[in-house]
Subunit: 253 residues, 2 copies
Amino acid sequence: MKKNYKITICYDGSRYYGWEHQPDRDTIQGKLENVLTRMCGEFIDVLGAGRTDAGVHARGMVANAVFDATDKERGGRERTPDEIRDYMNRYLPDDIAVKEVREASERFHARYKAVGKLYRYTCYDGPVKPVFQRKYVAVLEKRPDVEKMQQAAAYLEGKHDYKSFCGNPRMKKSTVRVVDKIEITRKGSFIYFDFHGTGFLQNMVRILVGTLLEVGKGKIRPEQIPEILEAKNRQMAGPTAPAQGLCLIKVDY
Amino acid sequence: MKKNYKITICYDGSRYYGWEHQPDRDTIQGKLENVLTRMCGEFIDVLGAGRTDAGVHARGMVANAVFDATDKERGGRERTPDEIRDYMNRYLPDDIAVKEVREASERFHARYKAVGKLYRYTCYDGPVKPVFQRKYVAVLEKRPDVEKMQQAAAYLEGKHDYKSFCGNPRMKKSTVRVVDKIEITRKGSFIYFDFHGTGFLQNMVRILVGTLLEVGKGKIRPEQIPEILEAKNRQMAGPTAPAQGLCLIKVDY
């Protein structure tokens, strides 16, 4: 019997062209669909909570997929959610892992039912390169002023039109979003930028980080942030921070 | 003026043929020598505290090298140790980092003056592959019995002839070593094996771990360890655990 499954996934995005399937390119969605298609013997669609960019990582991406988990080779017994998880992990490359599979209600939709997302962006500004974390951080040349960035972040929290922070110049729909928390913390030479919100525009977290880092360098004053929001112009914000520092931590339902 | 420098190095050994330089192969020693040779304009020897195997990592390998740190392009000023470190890190690949450079006494020798080494071997036995640590752990199929392994480890501590745990069948010199601490701890799905000793034979830590894991699986009883030591025969011990779980944490002087 076909059921709807909620699938929680962890991945190192370094060698992928992002989440969304593309012909002839390795993507996370493509790999997941291949494995479920192999298991089920027919093409299975995997719907993600969002599309991460090429090079972005995830510790808790959520997707859903509707399929019949009957194991034809074992007398038509239905695979349990843990058996589906184990099957997927056996055939997935070692930079993608399924953390959990759960039966969900028919109406569960990973994208439409998501009510919040938490992203973490990690920077490193120590004197020595972080060998073991090198693929998961953005290395900064200079120490930014964390306090100034925190002041700027306060202006960015709330419900705003984030058009200045949208990477898609042809965005037709509303660019208003709610970001209820931006927390910036330093631990040794690592600086973590945590963003929690109802949803994010294309490249939005990376442009927010790129802009906050300009504040940290003293190129933008915290008090200029309202003008940048007001302008609704991508040119006014800072650059798009590199993908490798970004990780989708969790999706709320 | 030529000085002797103590150099502390961190590396992800995944893509290297071990520490020791080899013609036409990437090795850690080879990379370090290339960078110092480039800096000094003449071939510089880098002497390591020991030779890690292909695929083994280090957080605190120590080496020494004798060279003249004069910067000819900047009016013959001598580079400070931090400047040497920064120069090396600028030209090293991103999976090798120099953590510290210090002036040492003439008599300092990274290998002969070492009085102790700490190695950590990391296993993982959770249901889901550890995506972000995948290159730094050995994944186990089943949960081993940690208590049994701790009992076996107690027999392995002390001053012993570790010939049964030596990977070099043609070892001519003494195979007696002192291992003053073997600690096995579980944190969640990670199991850490910490070995502290005055020195280790070729592959010794990996064979100790391979043997302890056989104990953890119930294939060897802890009480059999004295016989295995006694036998002085590599065949009696367990297999060599995979290189990627091993990391040289520090060297004592």
